[in-house]
Symmetry: C2
Subunit: 136 residues, 2 copies
């Protein structure tokens, strides 16, 4: 059997390079690679609980907790008590956290071009549709 012929291998292999690219563009706007996906969820819905954020980004609660620690330190988000449940906290974007979205959008466009650089438009569309089917 050839591991290299499997989709599981190819997907993992592509992942390594893609992760490096994300890191590079995230750093260019002052974010770490793990922080961008949490921010994206907050830009969609502000004031979420940690547990809900974890579910949305498919990460474990401790991982999200650690990522939020960095975002809190760098003043991208703030933390507030959940009104009706003392166990939970709500995470809110700061003005800085709202603002950085524009910079990331610009960087993300470059990242997208670099990612799809070797593909035609129809191939890019196919890839997106296939990736969507993979994890739905």
């Amino acid at each position: 059997m050839q591991f290299e012929d499997t989709a599981a291998y190819l997907l993992a292999k592509a992942t390594v390079l893609h992760k490096n690219a994300i890191q590079k563009y995230a750093n260019s706007v002052g974010l770490h690679s793990g922080q961008v996906f949490v921010m994206m969820e907050l830009w969609k819905v502000d004031g979420q609980r940690q547990i809900d954020l974890a579910a949305r980004v498919n990460l474990s609660p401790p991982t999200v907790n650690k990522i939020l620690g960095g975002l809190l330190e760098n003043d991208f988000v703030t933390c507030a008590r959940y009104e009706d449940d003392a166990r939970s906290t709500r995470i809110f974007l700061t003005p800085k956290g709202v603002q950085v979205r524009d910079a990331l959008e610009e960087a993300w466009i470059e990242l997208e071009e670099q990612t799809l650089g070797s593909l035609t438009d129809t191939e890019a569309l196919m890839l997106k549709q296939l990736l969507e089917k993979l994890f739905l």
Copy 2:
């Protein structure tokens, strides 16, 4: 702009779940997730230097060094001096390291099925071709 519509986003998203799956199947044969790709390279060419392994798996030399530390501890590989260059070391598979390949192949087949579960055969083929184009 919608981040969710980009291939860069979808690829990263698929990555998270795929990494968890790899971890699960790697653990089932006594390996950690990062170790399997180093082992795959050694199964192709035994006795490589660390720097060459790093290049083949697209990881930094320190990362490979750390991964090899675990493989050495668990007796999957051994370390030997490079005959003509005192800077380098050669990494060799132990009998245990050779043997574990069969177990991983079995696990990998299951992983492949799980990964492609929601895709048709033609879709799976397309995905593999697109992933190959992405990082060549």
